[in-house]
């Protein structure tokens, strides 16, 4: 068994060493640490605790890195072998399930852990800068490592169970959202239950909610960064995360044979898209529209009419739940609507982000780009038609968002006009459009994980492009009711962002051209 595990481990490490992008990624990491260190040195005399500031920025970067790795890197460990239909060959080569799991996931875990561990000596420089103790640094790294072990094994579990890497990545993301949201919900529930006039929960429930709160790495890192932190390194979070990691690994081992015994390819089926020969033909894709790429991407990338109906029903039910909860708890209608609007904004953002990461994914996976490029149409027509198809898939959330905005009491033309000429609103929308372009571009280079990678890369892009100071500069003028300044600001933002989007579109076109000719 160990021979096979070592063979897989060696293969992974060799592949990792050969790929230039991995080294570039590590270099970027080092550059970021160096820049943070420089910033701390420069502001040494102006900031109270430069070491702490330096450490916070690096710890945040690490937390984001682990989160991204969990979705893009760890979640494809087994599913990529399934997609390439080599699981059977690995089993025939004498490797048993635990060998494959160890060989595939441990190598990735080691690679990621190394990246974390090599920073440790540099982090001790933060102690010299002041504001942080070696104990805090040690506790932070223990917390991050435990989080990484847990996330790698959750991703491994989904990678074992799911047939496709994308589904595994999606399920890992949902688990991450739950992991990040549960402590906050637990805290708020505790606070709500402890508030005056409410019955106090039992000691067991309180203890459980507190445990939930303490088991989150994001929460634990926040605690570690506070002055005077003296809790043990092996905290509840570290132990619980390690235990969850081990549990997920064992579960993956147990379920491996059940989910990987079939020899059929991982790409069969068409998800929620109905078949025209099914009982309910209304939801089937039917015949292609006169804009065929719009039809194709709406039906097969955005999920089609059936998925749109499911989403719309879901959003309406959520609204009904908001209204019901608001009426029962005497929450003002404005607040209920505002909460729902916030939720729908997030829904639009998440859906659009996922669609932008998937827009070209299937064309690359199924090698269909050359067939599309052979059509007597321009690349621009192909790209924009695909985007339009995905946009139609966004309609349920957009309709719900707009409808709930109209339900907002006190909404008048003056307020709408103020929002329409707000540089902050325009800036946020355009930043998001740039982000979508970036994610679509990245999806042409990486197999999985374009979305988290885009999220990480947005920070330097926004730093290089002077958009944020510009938004704030023009929005501060707005207070003087100077319409001209606001419009001028919006104009400049539009031109700047349009330029960035244009550059991204050119890069997407060049990459598509390259893929099509491969």
């Amino acid at each position: 068994m160990f021979h096979g595990v070592l063979a897989l481990l060696t293969r992974s490490l060799r592949q990792d060493a050969r790929q230039l992008k991995n080294h570039v990624f590590r270099l970027t990491f080092v550059v970021f640490i160096y820049l943070s260190l420089m910033q701390s040195m420069l502001f040494f005399n102006f900031v109270g605790a430069p070491g702490l500031q330096f450490f916070i920025s690096i710890a945040t970067l690490n937390a984001v890195f682990i989160t991204c790795a969990g979705i893009g890197f760890f979640a494809t460990a087994i599913s990529e072998e399934k997609e390439e239909e080599v699981i059977g060959l690995l089993l025939m080569a004498g490797l048993n399930p635990v060998g494959i799991l160890l060989g595939k996931s441990t190598s990735r875990l080691i690679q990621a852990a190394f990246l974390l561990l090599v920073q440790f000596p540099f982090m001790l420089l933060a102690v010299t800068l002041g504001g942080i103790t070696p104990h805090q640094i040690l506790a932070a790294y223990a917390s991050l490592l435990a989080f990484m072990v847990m996330l790698a094994n959750i991703a491994l579990f989904w990678s074992t169970v799911c047939r496709r890497g994308g589904t595994a990545a999606g399920m890992t993301t949902i688990c991450l959202v739950v992991y990040a949201a549960v402590p906050r919900i637990a805290t708020q529930t505790l606070g709500y239950l402890n508030s005056a006039g409410r019955s106090r929960p039992s000691a067991t429930v309180t203890q459980y909610l507190q445990w939930c709160e303490k088991s989150c790495s994001y929460w634990q890192l926040g605690q570690i960064m506070t002055t005077g932190f003296a809790d043990p390194v092996m905290s509840v979070q570290v132990i619980s995360n390690l235990l969850i990691g081990v549990g997920c690994f064992l579960l993956s081992w147990l379920l491996f044979s059940r989910f990987n015994s079939q020899t059929t390819g991982a790409n069969d089926g068409r998800g929620m898209v109905a078949k025209s020969t099914g009982r309910v033909r209304f939801f089937a894709p039917g015949r292609a529209w006169s804009l065929p790429l719009v039809w194709k991407d709406f039906q097969f990338v955005a999920g089609g009419l059936r998925f749109a109906t499911v989403k719309f029903t879901g959003y309406v039910l959520v609204f009904a739940a908001f209204v019901y909860y608001g009426v029962r708890s005497n929450i003002a209608w404005t607040e209920t609507c505002s909460n729902y609007i916030s939720l729908m904004v997030w829904a639009v953002v998440i859906e659009a982000s996922i669609l932008s990461s998937r827009i070209f994914h299937d064309e690359i996976r199924l090698q269909t780009m050359s067939s599309l490029m052979m059509l007597p149409r321009s690349l621009s027509w192909i790209g924009h038609s695909k985007a339009l198809g995905c946009l139609i898939g966004l309609l349920p959330s957009i309709i719900c968002l707009c409808s709930s905005t109209l339900l907002l009491p006190g909404l008048d033309l003056k307020l709408a006009f103020q929002v329409a000429i707000s540089p902050i609103v325009w800036g946020a929308i355009l930043c998001f459009v740039v982000f979508l372009h970036l994610v679509a571009l990245l999806s042409l280079f990486v197999k999985w994980g374009a979305l988290p990678l885009g999220f990480v890369m947005m920070a330097p892009i926004m730093t290089c492009c002077p958009i944020v100071p510009l938004i704030f500069a023009t929005s501060s003028r707005r207070e003087t009711q100077d319409l001209f300044n606001s419009l001028a600001g919006i104009g400049v933002i539009l031109v700047l962002m349009g330029l960035v989007c244009f550059v991204f579109q050119m890069m997407i076109a060049a990459r598509l051209d390259e893929i099509g000719s491969q």
């Binding site: 089926g269 065929p292 059509l375 007597p376």
Partner: protein, 322 residues
């Protein structure tokens, strides 16, 4: 619009490749490649793996731009008149290039719509291509559930939806079982009879022998032969050769070698046969036959020695990899 209705009737070359050079990362994939393909012919494009077949095909079908030289399809330059070329050709890559989550009908309908066909035209054309490729019974099946041969037919049907005059097929028979291979060849013959020009690449010459009118052999980026299939079979070194089959087991090598004008006599191992190479300047075929009769050899057969296709291919292409 129906399949075969568009086929042009000119005698101008359909494909004209002139002095094309293309390199990838310093490695020359095509080295001054030139050849022509005539209309309504089935032209084989043969070469070992890595010879430059797919690169040539991608240049012809406008997916790649030639770094040097010109390529014209139906008289249109593939770089300057890309859209016009794309309207007239159908390209089937060596991979299936299918949307596996679609049904066969959805897939064909999508491409037909993308080529700008109206709803009614689409319905008619799809029925025709499904009938031609014998896929009408599987039109509602998901492509992911089809066998390799069926997926290949679906891909061929897709190529036909815009009724192109020229079909460019990159190794269409690779990975198919013998039955699927024969059926595919039958479809190609049917398409040729409809007046289509078919340019088909393969790394197995014998696979195309019965099918093709003309052939281009490419090796390591250089064209080794381009012309009729018959011409390729006759091409053999500098001197003509005949094959003599005799009765009995006597060795006639020595007496045959003594004949005037005979350059080389090769006994064929395990068979009562001899390959006789002679100098055309000294004697013709009649004189050679008279000489053999004069030796009182019990002749069973005397025929022109056409080289075996694989032999020709091996002679033209180089051993090993670049």
């Amino acid at each position: 619009m129906s399949i075969g209705a568009n086929s042009s009737g000119t005698s101008q070359p359909v494909i004209e490749v002139n002095d094309v050079v293309h390199s990838f990362k310093g490695r020359r994939a095509l080295d001054h490649v030139s050849f022509q393909v005539m209309p309504r012919s089935l032209h084989g494009f043969v070469g070992p793996n890595g010879a430059g077949k797919t690169t040539s095909l991608k240049i012809i079908c406008t997916l790649l731009r030639p770094q040097f030289g010109t390529v014209k399809v139906f008289g249109h330059d593939v770089v300057e008149d890309q859209k016009m070329v794309r309207r007239k050709i159908g390209f089937m890559p060596d991979h299936f290039s299918t949307y596996r989550q679609m049904t066969v009908y959805e897939y064909l309908d999508f491409f037909a719509a993308a080529y700008g066909l109206s709803f009614d035209q689409r319905t008619r054309v799809i029925d025709e291509v499904l009938a031609l490729t014998d896929m009408d019974g599987r039109k509602n099946d998901l492509i992911s559930g089809l066998s390799r041969g069926m997926q290949q037919r679906t891909s061929l049907a897709r190529v036909l939806v815009n009724d192109p005059d020229l079909l460019l097929l990159d190794e269409p028979a690779s990975g198919l079982d013998p039955r699927a291979r024969i059926e595919l060849m039958e479809i190609l013959k049917a398409l040729r009879s409809m007046g289509k020009t078919i340019f088909i690449s393969s790394h197995i010459l014998s696979e195309l022998a019965e099918l093709c009118d003309s052939v281009t052999i490419i090796d390591r980026g250089k064209v080794k032969y381009s012309g009729s299939m018959h011409g390729l079979l006759l091409t053999s070194g500098e001197h003509p050769a005949y094959r003599l089959t005799v009765a009995g087991e006597s060795d006639w090598t020595e007496p045959l070698s003594q004949l005037t004008g005979v350059l080389k006599v090769e006994p064929i191992e395990g068979r009562p046969e001899y390959r006789i190479e002679f100098d055309e300047a000294q004697l013709n075929t009649n004189q050679l036959l008279q000489g053999i009769i004069g030796l009182n050899i019990p002749i069973m057969a005397f025929a022109e020695d056409k080289r075996h296709l694989n032999e020709a291919f091996m002679d033209l292409t180089e051993r090993g990899v670049k």
